[in-house]
């Protein structure tokens, strides 16, 4: 369990990092917090020729809470965002989601951008990004571009980033008034990757009917999975137990075959998704009424 041989570069700027990616033509791998990459190196599942460590680029380490958005530089440590009082106060869903990522010791080192760009389908941040309509800024040889979360996660560990592009920041919109949220997951052990998880957001009209619903599952597909049919069942209706039950059944039924592995079968994950969606919607409704 020791990493293979590789070279190591510490660019001081994003431009320098992009130039390195271009020079090594796909043989380079970006290193951010290393909480996924270094285990992969230790197990020799990854064998890059060179690691490009982004940690010395100070311009990628920042958090700004303003104008209805929590904007975060890609190299900001997860724990820094989690412990920021203004995030806790003004984006409680993001705060709650961060607390579910592995353990504090991993979040001290793991970065916001690293988790998003790694795109593990069982990770919390990609699901939060999709649920919140986050947007990503990527820098490449041709300049910068913005990618919507809905277009970012392509499949397992694969994003819309080109081989010479670097994720530089992410913007998580805050939730509007009369909106409730929940994030729920089940893992075999505290801090493990979730067998299944869900982010739910519900907005209420003045009538008390659900004006907007967002249900995003994780750990049950190749990317975060939006339960679009379940959302449509909810919108325009006043929530009661029967409605939440049918929406959660719909969300589970719409899943393509979830993963079967040593931790859980596909059937178990599907049923877990149903239960978690029901719980998350109920919790989100309670918060929406209180908001």
């Amino acid at each position: 369990m020791k990493p293979p041989i590789f070279d190591y570069a510490t660019p001081a700027s994003v431009a320098e990092a992009i130039a390195l990616l271009a020079r090594y033509e796909g043989e380079a791998k970006l290193l951010s917090g290393g909480q996924s990459l270094v285990p992969l190196l230790n197990m020799r599942l990854a064998r890059p020729a060179v690691l490009v460590d982004l940690a010395r680029i100070a311009a990628l380490d920042w958090v700004r809470v303003a104008d209805g958005v929590v904007a975060i530089g890609a190299m900001t440590r997860q724990r820094t965002v989690e412990l920021a009082p203004e995030v806790q106060e003004r984006h409680p869903l993001l705060h709650a989601g961060l607390q579910l990522i592995a353990h504090p010791q991993n979040r001290n080192q793991g970065t916001i951008g690293g988790s998003l760009a790694h795109a593990d389908p069982a990770a919390e941040l990609p699901a939060l990004a999709v649920a919140l309509d986050a947007s990503f800024e990527a820098a490449g040889p041709e300049g910068t571009r913005t990618v919507a979360a809905a277009d970012f996660f392509l499949t397992y560990l694969t994003t819309a980033l080109a081989a010479t592009e670097i994720l530089t920041s992410v913007r998580f919109p805050m939730l509007p008034a009369r909106t409730g949220w929940a994030i729920q997951e089940v893992a075999r052990r505290h801090g493990d990757f979730a067998l299944a998880g869900v982010v739910a957001v519900v907005g209420l009209a003045l009538s008390g009917a659900i004006s907007r619903a967002r249900v995003v599952l994780y750990g049950v597909g190749a990317t975060p999975v939006r339960a679009a049919a379940a959302e449509r069942l909810l919108e325009g209706h006043v929530a009661d137990a029967a409605l939440l039950a049918s929406a959660s059944a719909q969300a589970a039924a719409d899943l393509e075959e979830p993963l079967t592995d040593v931790h859980a079968s596909a059937d178990y994950r599907r049923d877990l998704a149903r239960v978690l969606v029901g719980r998350a919607l109920a919790e989100a409704m309670t918060r929406a009424h209180a908001a």
């Binding site: 020791k2 510490t10 230790n42 197990m43 724990r79 353990h103 504090p104 010791q105 080192q109």
Partner: protein, 159 residues
């Protein structure tokens, strides 16, 4: 041919410099190059917490951090807790509450607790369990560790 890189860091207040291969993990560097074998190597993929050290005051897994990533950093390992023959209040509390049996997980646990108690002198129960939840202990069942944390809080308060 393997290329090496010159790195420097402060460990427990002492300055070290060495040439390392980029692939050297921080825990192997601490143990093998610096001879600081108090930090233990467990799972080598960031799950068990045995290798936890403080990196610029923050608890991290030194088995999934490369030594080159710690270039310029200030580190603290279990060797940095005691003052000569006087145990640190956290160590004394572990001893008095039997917060350890085999001791394999103990160095890492104590550093995570050191970070927690440096951040807050009155952590909540959730903060305590979240902190020690990042460490696998197969001997104690954790209850004695929780009691040790409470005793350490007491000792640090009256110090």
């Amino acid at each position: 041919m393997t290329s090496t890189r010159r790195i420097g860091m402060t460990v427990n207040g002492e300055r070290y410099e060495a040439d390392v291969e980029p692939r050297t993990t921080l825990v192997d560097f601490l143990r093998g190059t610096l001879g600081l074998t108090g930090t233990h190597v467990g799972c080598e993929h960031g799950v068990c917490g045995a290798c936890t050290v403080l990196w610029n005051g923050k608890a991290v897994r030194s088995c999934i951090m490369l030594a080159v990533q710690a270039d310029g950093a200030e580190l603290k390992t279990v060797e940095g807790l005691a003052r000569g023959a006087t145990l640190h209040p956290i160590q004394q509390a572990f001893l008095e509450k039997r917060g350890l049996q085999c001791g394999f997980c103990t160095p890492g646990l104590m550093l995570s607790i050191d970070e927690l108690l440096a951040r807050t002198s009155a952590p909540t129960d959730t903060e305590i369990t979240d902190t020690i939840g990042g460490h696998l202990c197969r001997c104690t069942g954790y209850q004695a560790i929780v009691e040790a944390v409470h005793l350490a809080i007491e000792k640090l308060r009256t110090k």
